[in-house]
Point group: C2
Amino acid sequence: MSYSAPLKEIIFTMQALAGLEAIAALPGLEDANLDMVRAILEEAAKFNHEIIAPLNRVGDCQPAVLRQGEVTATPGFKSAFAQFTQAGWQGIVHPPAYGGQGLPKLLGAACNEILNAANLSFALCPLLTDGAIEALLTAGSEEQKKRFVPLLISGAWTGTMNLTEPQAGSDLALIRTRAQQQDDGTYKLFGTKIFITYGEHDLAANILHLVLARTTNAPDGVKGLSLFLVPKFLVNQDGSLGARNDVHCVSLEHKLGIHASPTAVLQYGDQGGAIGYLIGAENRGLESMFIMMNAARFAVGMQGIALAERAYQQALAYAKTRLQGRPLDGSTPHAAPIIKHPDVRRMLMTMRALTEGARALAYYAAALRDFAEHAPEAKTKLENQALYEYLVPIVKGWNTELASEVASLGVQVHGGMGFIEETGAAQYYRDARILSIYEGTTAIQANDLVGRKTARDGGAAAKILMARILATEEALAASNSLAAKVMHTHLRAGRHSLESVLDFMVERSKTQPTIAYAGAVLYLKLAGTVLAGWQMARALLIAQEHYALDETFYAQKIATAHFFATHILTQAPGLGAAIMSDSESIESWLAEAQFS
Amino acid sequence: MSYSAPLKEIIFTMQALAGLEAIAALPGLEDANLDMVRAILEEAAKFNHEIIAPLNRVGDCQPAVLRQGEVTATPGFKSAFAQFTQAGWQGIVHPPAYGGQGLPKLLGAACNEILNAANLSFALCPLLTDGAIEALLTAGSEEQKKRFVPLLISGAWTGTMNLTEPQAGSDLALIRTRAQQQDDGTYKLFGTKIFITYGEHDLAANILHLVLARTTNAPDGVKGLSLFLVPKFLVNQDGSLGARNDVHCVSLEHKLGIHASPTAVLQYGDQGGAIGYLIGAENRGLESMFIMMNAARFAVGMQGIALAERAYQQALAYAKTRLQGRPLDGSTPHAAPIIKHPDVRRMLMTMRALTEGARALAYYAAALRDFAEHAPEAKTKLENQALYEYLVPIVKGWNTELASEVASLGVQVHGGMGFIEETGAAQYYRDARILSIYEGTTAIQANDLVGRKTARDGGAAAKILMARILATEEALAASNSLAAKVMHTHLRAGRHSLESVLDFMVERSKTQPTIAYAGAVLYLKLAGTVLAGWQMARALLIAQEHYALDETFYAQKIATAHFFATHILTQAPGLGAAIMSDSESIESWLAEAQFS
């Protein structure tokens, strides 16, 4: 089945939880008023429904193909990409000075959700291009920006990230690709990069590869990495395309999912060296790449929501039409739609609660980024940036882990039909599995969360969020509804658990780092659970307040929040207990001897 | 990589936890002494390692193929199947009177674990044949048994289960296949059956289809179902094969996993009617099919352990050789094997703890079945049978849900390589996904657990197990080790939670059945968690006692049990809380209006 963007839910989340109105009041974002936002989202919904979503299953069955170094995308992708870029979708959050529309990241996040739900494999191409744009804008010279960014925003060219090598996955210190400076100031690159998403394709006239490599005599480790721009075709002074550069696709991976996204092995320099241009300072490549990676990590978190939403839509539609079994309440002697069965409802509610919670948390984070960029006061900027950076690994890690869980429940709702590829539920299950791996595995996110985002500031950013949760708890306590009471109980228990874990992480990362990092992933899951639960609590309060305006929508929102409290937040204390076992317990299973 | 049967672990579980010695003391099972059991298991390990396991990836890449009604199995399967049956593996638990070896179900379970770990798709053929043997032995006439069972045990023929139809999946009441009695007492069958595992293949000379169908004027619903035996080839009086029967494979499904297992659509009676023989009494087909299904459900639970074990072995091997990142303890400045990283250890321990707990629980259940069959006293038989039946849906449901989780962790340990099909981890992830669907989804198991296994006897069987857990808690309390103390704390909390849920289920299934069934799957997960945790607690105590005899093995066992306590059992109270929310909370999300 196809995909229909949940616009009402998206706009509710933007307005009620992420503060769209306050964002539209920020200098430079005045265009982002509700009418404009709604119009753009409606157009995104229509475009993706009509043009992009129908290609999702096509791409699963007809992956991109490599022949003699040239990659041909899935049938239909080239035309769809042309329409996508012509309509300006690549540029919505990028600066008007380079051809973008300068709209809020919050709106960009919503548009990305819709695009990724329509077709994850297709969406990866613009996602990587966004990353390349961000990296160039931050680290590139004025000349590089002017020359390349407009071409990426217009969609004439696309961008890639080249980090991974066969021996260097999560561990960038092991990168071996070499860059030799030439007399004209350019470099020649030699090496092999793997897992390069859209590393080769026929959707655009040129591809800009952003490549981490080592200059001659660079230090060992990550402090010796520099960032280079290596175009597939060299560019003449007049802007026309010149010679083919010495970077070639030597194979495409055969993957569990996202079949339509060409994952390339790129060979640099087999024919004399690939010409590249240094971006930023030598040996500072990792910093620039981190900009790109943070944007990409947040975007991958959005992919999690997107896939979860699409899996939910398909499961819901199937549950309403598949007739099996009689309802327990005896309401009919005939076979009823399976949605009448309590466990099918439990599965659907789990899917919905996780998806809505993850969306609310991610949109909230996107809004923080808008405040960080556009708020007039430096202090506000800094605080919002710190909160955003705290949330990025959680949005990436938690949203993507739950995407697999939601896609798996989607298969389960379909029963035996879910295991049959033609049904489509299995594709979401396969596609989802990459999300908690690429752009940094969940463990990499969790280590970032413990080290750079919690230990480094002594938990200061996290504690600002804890104070905000406490304020929501107080509002819940003031409400008389059962839903608010139940939410209050479980949100408070979850926050208590998370606060204890924060203290534990701050202390242990100094005194017993191995003990701290042994609980890193569970801490990330706990934080995601509690923070998304908090967003659901906020949604609950707003839904109660506005109930009379739209009873059906708000009643569902209240029930989903209520379910989140009883079925998801109840898991928080157990996570806390596992993280904070006594040191001796943790040391016992960490011991070398366990794996002999 | 290949698979090596964990014989030491298997024999420990059989001896220390499942009571192998007591089983070998039962009348009729005297052959099952430790030496014999060890010899058989060593042979199983060798045979499956050499002959069956190497075909696992072959089957994933080269599924069975249908051409003009004939199915050709994966290359290598036919020869492997011949060796499998010639060595007598099909008959180990079946009665010597029909050519079997009459060995304990406990040993059969262990052999099945090894076979399924070697090659799940291959193992499905003997698994279904086992079910057909059980059904014939229970419901067939003396003549039917004598005529057909030896042919199944020898592997000359194989068996299938035919329940599902396009409109009748979990809901067998909707079955439409018709059976018209002929003057000679045989029946002619007409209808379409789908999802028939090994419904057509070239491994054996004949296939016996066991088919649920309705005789003329049979009542509606499940009470009008009769069981028929429909051979692919009719059989002459002298036992030679006669004419091709009118049952034909019209297509094979294109599935997410278990590619080498041909999943057939079978058309009955398009050329005048498929000749079938009634098994047991008319309209009593479901009872006979349930015998087959219960055996098959337990066997699918074993498949869960098998896949989990294989995924663990591969992840462990990868983690020991893949070099990425420096250890936190600064023990080396160079890239270290990823097993040095705390979260990789957490993932591996989670995989191992779940797998060992699931194995222990399933073997314990298999032993109950041996006591139920062979114990001299009727009362002992009855009690053991009741406990076994209580555990079957848990072994099926919990073991298979965790198999997907373990296989997913296996992918995660591999990082990006896990998403590449050639690595093999992705195949386990795809294969595992069917286990919680076929032979009854987890919800079907959970409904069985609530209705037939808990409510019907007022929780009596479950409470016998609770008393046994309490005895283990007392033994833990008497131990001074940290591991025993930690286990005691979490096992007690888990048992408290499970006991409350038992009372809740017994009461609510009468007064508010919808509320009870809304928590059925979570109850199944809670029961699996606590009961497997109990087995790990027993293992811990025994390991402490025998520590000096094999320090390495027992130290690992203690650490795994310890980890199970802190990381798995800690989830139990959260499950209990979700199940036992107040009725109004549950009703709010169950309400019709939530899905409008």
